[in-house]
Symmetry: C2
Subunit: 385 residues, 2 copies
């Protein structure tokens, strides 16, 4: 029995439903951010982030900072690239556009490689772009929350190392970390930024960034000072190193309750990282098969481009999200409407991550699929379709 | 009876002890950040921030953003001043130094007016400085957490309006909002930045900034784009306006649980804002009288320079914080060591804010004063003083 108040099941691509223990950690009593108890928890949480990324390289460095996932873009843009340097954005939707704007704010020259909705950037196009100009960094959205498109992070990273080895590989993993495989060291990535509230299963409010030794080196060998103060790697690096070495340190007050919640969920997740990816794949396959059976096509047409923590599905011709979402809500299930502005009224999004996936006893996914079937039938009937 | 797990009483100048209802709000079940229920709560919370600042001017604009108090410095420095413009920092300790660094990161020319430890900047010095150069903005730390010095915000604001009316008046209220009087409209302030975890009585993780119409105008009439992306007023302004008008809006995912907790505490505080300041003054007077009786001198020598939410006290000659803090802890009370680097080993800090002050039945302050008396006697005896 859950200790949580009765509520509709939140199955959007983040925030997601919480495990009871995680939510209980949020109401931890008041603690000093520099007291031994909290210093230990924060230090351990940083070490758990390494485990989450399957990283053992001691030059890699995790950051946990009070902020939304968006703050990770500033951490990258204000530290890893300088005014006038080139950035290549593999743009698979809404979040590629925004990351590009953030990079431009800090003076980068941004080139977007745009792909049709539902597809990922072909490696040949990336290779051609990399051969045309010298890029300080390349960014890709691992899972685009607006479309459910999964990018080929491993393939892009391999390509970059072959064609342009000094280019930093930056992954927006807000909607992937915790549900999609990421082998940070093995894939030789330079920065993966994410947030607490999606597949990591913690309430929103933490920006989590994993960086390579190469990225830290780039930040430390800048010719110009960092472009931001709160998002400055130079300001946070000693803090993270000290906490992980069990020493209190101060730059800004960490959100102690959220850090406790992150500690709880990462302890659960890192008990079996490959198992976590496997179950997300298994449940995703089930959702996608059920959607196909209902005649719903995914935005991401090709299976290799389909995320495992969410499914973005076109509605049948003649229906808009407002025809279907209320029918789901009536059955206790919350999905999200479309977000990609060109086609927002044509599709809905189902987030299947975290406890809703790992704890089948909750029945979240089965109930959602049953509710979807009924709500669709109801909507079609109402529209005479 | 509190629902909280037994723990030592946290009486540092933030984070502080929580009211049970506030802490319970932290474990609110999962919610979409754009669902009607949360949109309403976020919108109301913004309106409560106006009440907290005793502001009714519709051109004033509150911001509530996921981040630490430090992020407020970026919001000011990246939006209200442009590269090459002048900023005057009234520097009463650690936090004036850091705010200056933040302003410099975004290209401001910073002049510090430093005062001896424990004192506030004399108005004549401020006036002389304002007459010497044209300043885009002036910053002052309302209560310097490192020293417990209270600045004369009203006096400085009046002076600025008389001598240099276009200069923006920016107040670092991280350690003052909720325990010191601030009349935002009446005092004609332009920006007050604060954080959730001090006298506001919410867990850490929210940057809260109140801005005037004049400040918004300055941000909107910049000749150059804002210096930051996550800390950009242009990016957040429509979001805050939409939520307060009960419309969902997205720039970055808000920390839903923390917003619920802020809503709960601000509902409590704004039920009687003048009463809140009065009780903080009353309890502060009691603490300061008790400290004097124990022979402890404050860093802020003059009464008008003494904060009402904390007391920074010199230890007797021969004692350092490590002689006294363990004796307090043994008695269930947590004070903070010194923070101002020149004299950090010579003093301790006692935070008396929020529920520890407003709910005398908890006995926090009385117990702390008794514990301080015993711990001091014990430490003196151990040192043969």
């Amino acid at each position: 029995m859950s200790a949580q108040a009765p509520h509709n099941t939140l199955l959007i691509p983040g925030p997601i439903e919480f495990d009871d223990a995680v939510l209980q950690s949020m109401s931890h009593y008041a603690e000093s951010h520099v007291a031994p108890g909290f210093v230990k928890v924060f230090g351990e949480t940083l070490t758990l982030v390494r485990k989450l990324f399957q990283s053992t390289n001691p030059t890699a460095q995790p950051f946990i900072i009070s902020g939304s996932g968006t703050l990770g873009w500033d951490l990258v843009s204000a530290n890893l690239i300088e005014r006038g340097e080139n950035a290549l954005v593999l743009n698979t939707g809404y979040f590629g556009d925004s990351f590009g704007q953030c990079l431009e704010t800090y003076g980068a020259n941004v080139t977007h490689l745009k792909t049709p909705i539902g597809d990922r950037t072909p490696l040949e196009e990336v290779e051609a772009a990399l051969k045309e100009k010298s890029y300080k960094l390349i960014t890709l959205t691992h899972v685009d929350t607006s479309t459910g498109v999964l990018s080929d992070v491993k393939g892009v990273a391999q390509l970059v190392r072959r064609v342009s080895p000094d280019t930093l590989v930056v992954v927006d993993g807000v909607c992937s970390v915790g549900s999609e495989e990421i082998a940070f060291d093995e894939w030789d990535l330079d920065a993966v930024l994410t947030a607490s509230q999606k597949a990591i299963g913690c309430p929103p409010g933490l920006s989590i960034v994993m960086t390579s030794g190469r990225a830290i080196q780039a930040a430390q060998s800048r010719k110009t000072p960092p472009g931001a103060y709160y998002a400055s790697i130079a300001n946070w690096l000693p803090i993270m190193q000290n906490y992980e070495n069990n020493k209190p340190s101060y730059f800004a007050t960490p959100p102690t309750q959220l850090v406790h919640a992150l500690h709880t969920t990462l302890t659960q997740i890192t008990a079996d990282v490959p198992g976590r990816f496997a179950i997300h794949t298994e449940v995703s396959d089930k959702v996608k098969a059920a959607a196909a059976e209902l005649g719903l096509k995914q935005l991401a047409a090709r299976p290799e481009c389909q995320a495992h923590g969410m499914t973005a599905m076109y509605l049948p011709e003649g229906l808009v999200p407002a025809d279907v979402l209320p029918g789901l809500l009536k059955r206790g299930v919350i999905f999200a409407a479309g977000l990609h502005k060109e086609i927002a009224t044509k599709y809905i999004r189902f987030g299947h991550m975290g406890v809703s996936v790992t704890d089948p006893k909750l029945g979240h996914v089965d109930n959602a699929l049953a509710a979807l079937k009924e709500a669709l039938a109801e909507a079609k009937q109402a529209k005479g379709l």
